[in-house]
């Protein structure tokens, strides 16, 4: 059930415990217990809303930065990764295979703000060899959700 519960929550983190209990054919206590346990174990790390900020008046730019670094003896990439992900501006950090080492995703109010962060905080770090900044122009789909598409039930209302 654990995994099924996670799949159910991954797409709808707002489901109530009552509904989840009905959907999984169990009691509310069992669901609550399961969720608390998974939160403790950091299997569930948070409950987020997926927002299309483009539709709001909030200025937000996202950049994907390819970072090449020198791994450190005994620490590998973890230490430098931590140095980077502790910055509040950094939304995601992934260790990559291939042509560069870390993908760093940064959000800022303006392009300038992001560029300054890269120039002043990220690039000067000792183990960072190079950075390449790519700005996101439009988000079509994020976390499995298509932003623009309007879903309409076009089925005939009653069919055998």
């Amino acid at each position: 059930m654990k995994e099924q519960l996670l799949y159910a929550l991954e797409n709808h983190s707002k489901r109530t415990v009552k509904d989840l209990a009905a959907m999984f054919g169990t009691s509310e206590d069992v669901i609550s217990e399961e969720l608390t346990q998974m939160e403790k174990e950091r299997i569930i790390c948070g409950y987020h809303a997926l927002i299309n900020w483009d539709k709001t008046n909030t200025d937000k730019v996202t950049a994907l930065i390819e970072v090449r670094v020198t791994p450190q003896r005994g620490e590998g990439f973890d230490k430098i990764a931590r140095r980077i992900y502790m910055f509040e501006e950094v939304k995601s950090v992934y260790l990559m295979s291939g042509g560069f080492d870390l993908t760093v995703i940064i959000e800022g109010a303006t392009m300038k703000e992001v560029a300054l962060f890269v120039g002043q905080k990220l690039a000067p770090l000792e183990s960072v060899l190079s950075t390449a900044t790519h700005f996101v122009l439009k988000k079509y789909k994020d976390y499995g959700v298509i932003f623009e598409e309007e879903r309409k039930d076009e089925r005939m209302a009653v069919t055998p």
Partner: protein, 392 residues
């Protein structure tokens, strides 16, 4: 107007009980419908994409009457993999225009005028008309809620005559959600063999069972030779509009069926056949995902309906629940009509699927959880209001 008599059988078939509700619902603006008999998912993209690609490649020709060879091969592999059914792609399968054509063509293949066909009810709306149109006589068997709407040997025996030619099994069932286990089927197989009956097994919902795995009656000893299995892609892969079904049976049945299919239909739509090929090859995972979602909604529906006093047994297949509305004192049709008018929720009265559906309504859960919850809330209000009025 020309005063010529039209086909007597067709002209005398009563209009579908579903049509009436459809007409009312379409005039309402914000009605919520639980009346739909098809998946709410779109066909998975990789399947749609194969259809698009086949059009881009200009594959707009006819295929062989029985369907693309590759598709027939792939369906046979699929049936072996999923249900342990063994059929030869060359001689024992025909691809049809949905399961519906499969049912019609099957009945036309086996029936002579006056042959009787046992039709357990409540069940899908096309069996009786198709039997009649083929010159046969449909003999309904009223299934009982105390048996969870499964067919029993005694019920078959009660309706047998020397003219009984065949029996239509449709499990997992629309509208009840009932299934038949191996033991249930064995009892029917025994009587079919004893009385030399043909079994038409409509297994369109075979992939949608919850808990028990689907068993095809054709896999029971002595049944392959007398069973015609009808199925298709509509429900398992959310491909209703593509209209691709198939019939598998021993060659002597399929030989005749292909003659009917060839002159009536020529072949199934080619674009759809290419899409179906992709589904049969690479769609097992899609089925599992959709089934998982249906299963959760199924439990939600059963829980909420039982809690509001509309008793329902646990359906183990398809995507319908079939709650009893007898506690409200209304007939199925009254319940459905009043619910639609006062709360703008459409359900289908059980009587649309045969007289034995009286006292029940069919609620489909091929909707998102959020939609289901709104509908359930409104049904609950409706039921509460009826009970209040009764106690006044």
């Amino acid at each position: 107007m020309m005063n010529r008599e039209l086909n007597r059988i067709a002209a005398n078939i009563p209009p579908s009980g579903i049509r009436k509700f459809f007409d009312i619902v379409t005039t309402m603006e914000d009605a919520i419908s639980l009346g739909v008999g098809e998946p709410d998912f779109d066909t998975p993209w990789h399947i749609r994409e194969e259809g698009i690609y086949s059009l881009e490649r200009g594959r707009t020709f006819y295929t062989s009457n029985a369907g693309l060879v590759e598709l027939r091969q792939e369906i046979c592999k699929y049936l072996k993999r999923r249900f342990d059914l063994d059929y030869h792609y060359d001689t024992e399968i025909a691809v049809t225009v949905g399961g519906s054509e499969g049912i019609d063509a099957t009945l036309r293949t086996i029936l002579n005028p006056g042959d009787e066909v046992l039709v357990p009810e409540p069940s899908f709306v096309c069996y009786k008309p198709c039997v009649s149109l083929s010159g046969g006589i449909p003999v309904p068997i009223a299934l009982k809620v105390e048996n969870e709407f499964r067919l029993t040997r005694a019920e078959v025996e009660e309706h047998l005559t020397e003219k009984t030619k065949a029996i239509i099994l449709s499990f997992p069932n629309n509208p009840t959600g009932a299934i038949m286990t191996r033991e249930d089927l064995q009892a029917i197989a025994d009587v079919a063999i004893e009385k030399d009956l043909i079994v038409i097994s409509d297994e369109i919902y075979a992939e949608l069972t919850y808990g028990e795995e689907h068993v095809s009656i054709a896999t029971l000893a002595g049944m392959r030779e007398r069973t015609i299995v009808v199925s298709g892609f509509s429900k398992a892969y959310a491909m209703t509009g593509w209209r691709i079904g198939y019939v598998v049976a021993p060659a002597h049945f399929i030989d005749v069926l292909k003659i009917i299919h060839q002159y009536a239909i020529m072949c199934s739509p080619t674009t759809s056949q290419y899409a179906a090929l992709e589904a049969a090859k690479n769609g097992d995972k899609d089925i599992e995902e959709m089934k998982g979602a249906y299963d959760q909604r199924r439990r939600l529906m059963v829980e909420y309906l039982n809690n509001m006093g509309l008793e329902c047994f646990e359906p183990q297949g398809a995507f319908y629940v079939f709650p009893s509305i007898q506690s409200t004192g209304l007939t199925s049709e009254e319940f459905a009509t009043q619910l639609l008018k006062s709360k703008k929720v459409a359900v289908v009265p059980g009587t649309a699927f045969g007289e034995s559906g009286e006292g029940f309504i069919r609620c489909s859960y091929a909707y998102s959880v959020d939609e289901l919850k709104i509908a359930l809330e409104r049904i609950e209000e409706f039921v509460a209001e009826i009970k209040e009025n009764k106690s006044k």
